[in-house]
Point group: C2
Chain length 224, copies 2
Amino acid sequence: MTSTPRRGRPPKGERQLSREAIVEATLKVIDADGVGAVSMRAVGRVLGADAKSLYNHVAGKDALLDAVAEELLGGITLPDLTGGTRADLLAIAAAFRERALAHPEAASLVLTRQLASLEGLAPVEAVLSVLRDAGCPPDQSVHLLRAFVATLIGTLLREVSAGPTYGTTDTAGIAQRQSILENSGLPAVAAAAHHLARFDGATEYEFAISLALDALAARLADQR
Amino acid sequence: MTSTPRRGRPPKGERQLSREAIVEATLKVIDADGVGAVSMRAVGRVLGADAKSLYNHVAGKDALLDAVAEELLGGITLPDLTGGTRADLLAIAAAFRERALAHPEAASLVLTRQLASLEGLAPVEAVLSVLRDAGCPPDQSVHLLRAFVATLIGTLLREVSAGPTYGTTDTAGIAQRQSILENSGLPAVAAAAHHLARFDGATEYEFAISLALDALAARLADQR
DNA sequence: ACCTGAACACCGTTCAAGT
DNA sequence: ACCTGAACACCGTTCAAGT
């Protein structure tokens, strides 16, 4: 009288698997428990399906993580461009950051993986077209794009990995870090301990991006 | 007549395990096959010991990877400071890069992990002391340090993950990428396809760092 | 003090067997 | 066309049993 285990494709309207649903389920796992918690079995569990069934829709775990990264990158809603170079680049960067902070656990995937697809090219197009409209030649634009993206990625990686508690909330932790730094024996570190022990993502983001855009503007001015 | 399996601690001068040897062996695994190939069993194999023995010297796999990151960070040989702000920051960044490129497969560990130890504080001290000597107040120094490091990390992450073949060697790959970009339907991307399809780590590094240092110098000048 | 056997609860992935 | 059972070669980690 035990329930006889089924085999083969389920008979009726049991939910069909799809690549899209699988990617979505994976993102759910990541949001809940981090990238490290992703396994074919865990994703299958979310969908009520066997892990092996996923292989009918994705090539494997690595390809699945790539797909999640592409989904995130492709889901960025780019701003309408106004023609103001600085304002437009600021807005593009903000769109990037917004997406990263919406899925902080997944952000490292986008920031870290080498993506080959065309999906993620829209932000690149946006930045390059702003630079082109600013009168920047293509070779210079590509250099500036890469430097700008590097700063953006480095800044966001730090922000998402620092977590929200690093800053204002955890006063005990701040005090402890500060005293460690003060007693580090390193004079410049000790002198800056108060500031090193604190971190506010939004402030650091604005500082770094603003700095990068200043540098970029200076190069564009040189150009002319 | 089969060899009887030993149990308990081996009787004599069989190599002792040590935290240091374990970290070194892990780095060997990473250099050979990447971070993904690290497992307690694989590291044990390198040392001729059982994976479980490692737990007598490190808390677990995650702590082991942290230790590798700290070893890399701590092993950076910092330049003697000359008093020239730009030259000194350039030299510090170069030391960072040199270490990253010496272990490209391991670099993401250092660039990505949140390190809590004091080992990695020497580069921070170096940068902060250069900024202090340039007359920059501590709060501003910390912002500039973080922005500078973000650019450095973003740039190096790209360089190590791009691999050496992206640039000059793989002419077929370059041509293919270029034609994909030209046919992407994105006008600015298509216009810059020739440059987007190519990547030279050293050139991009110099461009990005130089840009960051220009921006930093401008801020220091404002200050006064 | 330190190493290992046995053991547990996991992995990713292949492939044939099913519907 | 798509799902699963059986199977394989892996994982990290605990703990008691040994020397």
